[in-house]
């Protein structure tokens, strides 16, 4: 980032905070203009929160280490989710993850993705877990590309009624991740358009990654080997 560009952006943002948007709109270069707009949004947000705007408006609103949220993101967002969707939190706020109840998960997901100052637009991973004692869990790792927040959401469900609302339409990768979780654990995702097995053949029986899984004896007449007899 050259010094002139930094200066240009910080000048434009100052003028815009004072009310004159033309300074930003008149910047010709599209990249610099968008950086200026982002810096303006950040400055406004910091003003709203009462803290002083960053002196170092380098034009990129990536939270550097110095101004990263000092509060644990899981705790912070768990609190906000609880305020917006009362009754959705399952237990207390924790540091490592947010534990949710499955009912309002779809609405919460849409809110997390579209809310302006969160923008969790990237679903990193859905992990299924067999917690023992007849409880299954689905763990979602979310990440915001713009603000670099990373949170983990866990939803626990009983084994005999393993249903979680699907978030396939919110994050499109949810389609395949949920199919994989269904394939391995038997958690069915309600509202998924095409829930079928992905890694195993369609007519396989059982949910392999559960701790109490027993491999089927034969598959279409082929014996599934359980003991490594005769192998080296």
């Amino acid at each position: 980032m050259s010094k002139e560009r930094e200066k240009l952006i910080s000048d434009a943002v100052e003028k815009a905070i004072a009310g004159d948007m033309d300074a930003i709109n008149n910047i010709e270069d599209r990249v610099v203009r968008s950086k200026a707009k982002a810096a303006l949004a950040k400055a406004k947000r910091l003003q709203k929160d009462g803290s002083s705007p960053d002196a170092d408006l380098s034009g990129s609103d990536v939270p550097t280490v110095s101004n990263a949220p000092s509060e644990n993101p899981n705790r912070m967002f768990g609190d906000r989710i609880n305020q917006k969707f009362p009754g959705s939190l399952d237990g207390d706020l924790k540091d490592t993850h947010i534990q949710l109840k499955p009912d309002q998960w779809n609405d919460i997901a849409i809110w997390l993705k579209t809310e302006d100052d969160m923008l969790f637009d990237s679903l990193q991973c859905i992990t299924g877990m067999d917690m023992g004692e007849d409880i299954l869990e689905a763990r979602y790792n979310l990440h915001s590309m713009k603000y670099r927040f990373a949170i983990e959401i866990r939803i626990a469900i009983p084994k005999n009624k393993a249903e979680i609302p699907s978030i396939e339409q919110v994050w499109r990768i949810g389609d395949w991740f949920e199919r994989e979780t269904y394939d391995m654990y038997g958690i069915s995702f309600s509202g998924h358009t095409d829930l079928r097995r992905i890694l195993l053949p369609d007519d396989w029986e059982g949910w392999p990654l559960r701790k109490d899984y027993e491999v089927q004896e034969t598959y279409h007449g082929i014996v599934v080997p359980k003991v490594k007899e005769g192998w080296e």
Binding site: T96, D121, Q124, T127, R172, I173, W176, P201, P208
Partner: protein, 373 residues
């Protein structure tokens, strides 16, 4: 005015096909040559990696991780050991970190050479494939010199490495770097700016950045769509924050941003950046340090879980490891970049012709071992 409805043909590409990069079945519905729907079917290479990892100890999982993305084994190992070391709070000596970065970057060059060579083969150019393999062989020779294996290394262990660098490693690697840098210019002349290649790949299979992020695409595929995201720079692990390198993004030089040519060219530029990192690492590596020093005698991580991402040649590889205090993992989930890259194929390949589907699939650079685990 009537609309003529031809009959749509349903075809299978694969599972055995020269261009599907593994055993992959694409069920394709076409109207003449134009595709109207693609459904990938995977699972032909499923080897139950996650179930196995619940029955073996933490060290024994490492050879399993090798075999997932068998074309970039060092990167898989790297991701796993970085996640484990963060879970167990181990700090490895400097020399180990430098060697890991060197191996990771050499592996990146080797993997990109293969990806680009095979992509040329898919599009019909037979010669760059062999030239790139010739150069890749030299890298595999370096790996063989170090740990004895050419493809599946089991090299990076939790807390250290399996072997130290052999005598003469620095000379061989410097020779390779000096030999390789002008080769990239050769490849550019032969293939990248060739008019026929550009016509086959420019403006084909454009991946818009918001679609890419929603589908979880990462790595060179995401960077080619214009999003500047590289875990080595944005969430640095190991000692990557000490090196000075650029992150190339696609700029739509030959067509639109995010087309196949961009994905191809980003990989080409990344190889040059890896050469830069390698030169810096080779000059800064500390001369002494024991690579076996901080390897714990028994790996018993504290109870808890961790999700850690690292940058492999194909994108960001995530390991979600859950430990319950015993020497055997409770759950290891591997989130592979090729899985997400393949899922976006159904979205971007509609409306193109049959030859374009092969070109788009090649540009996404998938490895079925990683997708199916």
């Amino acid at each position: 005015m009537g609309i003529v409805h031809g009959q749509e043909m349903v075809l299978n590409i694969g599972p055995q096909h020269p261009s599907t990069h593994g055993v992959l079945r694409l069920q394709v519905r076409t109207d003449g040559e134009i595709i109207s729907e693609i459904k990938p079917f995977i699972g032909y290479l499923h080897r139950c990696f996650e179930k196995h990892s619940e029955n073996v100890t933490y060290e024994q999982v490492i050879p399993f991780t090798d075999r997932c993305d068998y074309l970039a084994s060092m990167a898989n190992n790297f991701g796993y050991v970085v996640a484990m070391e963060e879970l167990m709070d181990i700090k490895v000596p400097e020399r180990v970190e430098f060697i890991r970065v060197i191996m990771g970057e050499l592996q990146r060059i080797a993997s990109h050479l293969l990806a680009l060579g095979v992509y040329g083969l898919d599009v019909g150019a037979f010669t760059p494939f062999l030239h790139m393999f010739r150069d890749r062989e030299r890298i595999l020779d370096i790996f063989e010199m170090t740990c004895g294996a050419r493809l599946l290394y089991n090299y990076m262990w939790v807390g250290g490495l399996s072997h130290d660098l052999p005598v003469g490693f620095m000379d061989v690697t410097y020779n390779f770097l000096d030999y390789f840098e002008p080769k990239i210019g050769e490849f550019n002349d032969l293939l990248s700016h060739n008019k026929i290649f550009v016509e086959r790949t420019a403006d084909v299979g454009v991946l818009p950045p918001d679609v890419a992020i929603s589908y979880g695409v990462s790595g060179p595929n995401l960077r080619a769509s214009g999003v500047k995201w590289d875990i080595r720079k944005d969430e640095p692990y190991s000692i990557y924050d000490r090196f000075d390198f650029d992150v190339p993004i696609g700029e739509g030089i030959k067509g639109s941003v995010g087309d196949c040519w961009d994905r191809y060219y980003v990989r080409m530029l990344e190889m040059m950046e890896s050469v830069k990192i390698l030169r810096q690492a080779l000059s800064q590596i500390p001369k002494d340090g024991d690579v076996h020093q901080t390897i714990p005698k028994k790996i018993r991580p504290p109870k808890g879980s961790i999700y850690k991402r690292t940058e492999t040649p194909r994108g960001d590889l995530g390991y979600y490891i859950v430990s319950d205090g015993s020497p055997v993992p409770y759950r290891v989930k591997m989130r592979s970049p090729a899985f997400t890259a393949l899922s976006v194929l159904g979205e971007i390949a509609n409306g193109w012709m049959m030859s374009d589907v092969i070109a788009i699939l090649g540009s996404l650079d998938i490895v079925l071992g990683e997708i199916d685990r």
